[in-house]
Chain length 210, copies 2
């Protein structure tokens, strides 16, 4: 997964995933603008293997995170990124299993598909516990993300997971103790706030039951 | 705060806040691209008034959230948004006090300034408890967000808060019971995952002490 080479930044071309706009509006009589993005709605799932008492998480190379590790002066347009100075491993995150909503399926069906595609567990839709929905961001992009909780057993594991097409996703397992150490580390946690929310939700609502 | 009119979307012009790129790279021999954004690092603070036993939060109109409430077919470029059909109040979020890192100050100093500017409490830097840092996003933008916890008393309240310049921020107070109801509601929580993380962190680590 980590063999990343020939990294270079280009200006954004027309994108099907990322639609940058400026919103113009008047607030209390004052004209304002705000730069922002339209992005897809998404689902995220906290998966717990209750047999082996581990959380099922995913690891992948995230270009946006990798960019965030690079000094702005070292990421000029059309200048190759120095992958010796900035190891691409720094762009590998640990996240909840998740996916964008781009199909005519219920949110729970999409969540079920992501669990199968990314983690290899075939779970009944009815086993997904809805946690709730929230805005995936507020500053520059905001769509609805819906979170679920799902318990699995090894009997439900039907493939190795890893994603579809050219996705390269590693499934990782963490015990509750390991995930507690991970989220309370002093280094930057290479995970998004939705992951931290999911883990703290689990610690508050579920982990004491096991 | 809610008097929002004349809303129209335009293509993104040159922006100082939002820098869209496409990253080109080779992963395991396969050429790939990813559309993404460079954004500022930030701080966020969970503030608890221990005298009155309320969390101190902020409410504001967020263009990106408002856009997220509008059906894509009703947000075409240069077509005014129908604010009767889509009330701008839908774009008002409840968040942790937060701010971007755009000054030559320590992160704790920036957090202290945001608490004063947005919420009106003048707190000693030394009273800020570092929770940790994480990636503010992973899909399209990722910078480092650092979270703090801070306890305040009414004696530290020196202004009404509300932000600087043309910021329009309302300070809101919620009891622990109110915030629990808010984060577990069945409607979409009009708050980002960093807020949910902060609240669950507080519920797990602090609220039982009061």
């Amino acid at each position: 997964m980590n063999k990343i080479t020939d990294v270079v930044m280009k200006p954004l071309e027309k994108s099907i995933y990322l639609k940058p706009y400026t919103m113009h509006f008047t607030q209390n009589g004052q004209k304002k603008t705000w730069d922002l993005l339209g992005i897809h709605d998404s689902v995220a799932i906290i998966i717990y293997n209750k047999l082996r008492k581990v959380l099922i998480l995913v690891k992948q190379f995230r270009p946006a995170v990798y960019l965030g590790t690079i000094d702005p002066q070292d990421r000029q347009i059309d200048h190759p990124i120095d992958t010796a100075k900035y190891p691409p491993e720094n762009g590998i995150t640990i996240e909840l299993c998740a996916g964008i909503v781009d199909k005519q399926l219920s949110l729970a069906e999409i969540a079920r598909e992501e669990i199968l595609e990314e983690c290899g567990y075939d779970v009944p839709v009815g086993s997904l516990e809805l946690i709730g929905s929230y805005r995936s961001g507020v500053g520059t992009s905001a769509s609805v993300q819906t979170a679920y909780y799902c318990e699995v057993t090894d009997a439900m594991k039907v493939t190795q997971g890893g994603g579809t097409d050219d996705e390269l996703i590693d499934v990782v397992e963490m015990t509750v103790a390991e995930v507690k150490d991970y989220v309370t580390q002093r280094d930057v946690v290479n995970s998004p706030p939705s992951f931290l929310f999911g883990i703290y939700w689990f610690l508050l609502n579920k982990s004491s039951k096991y």
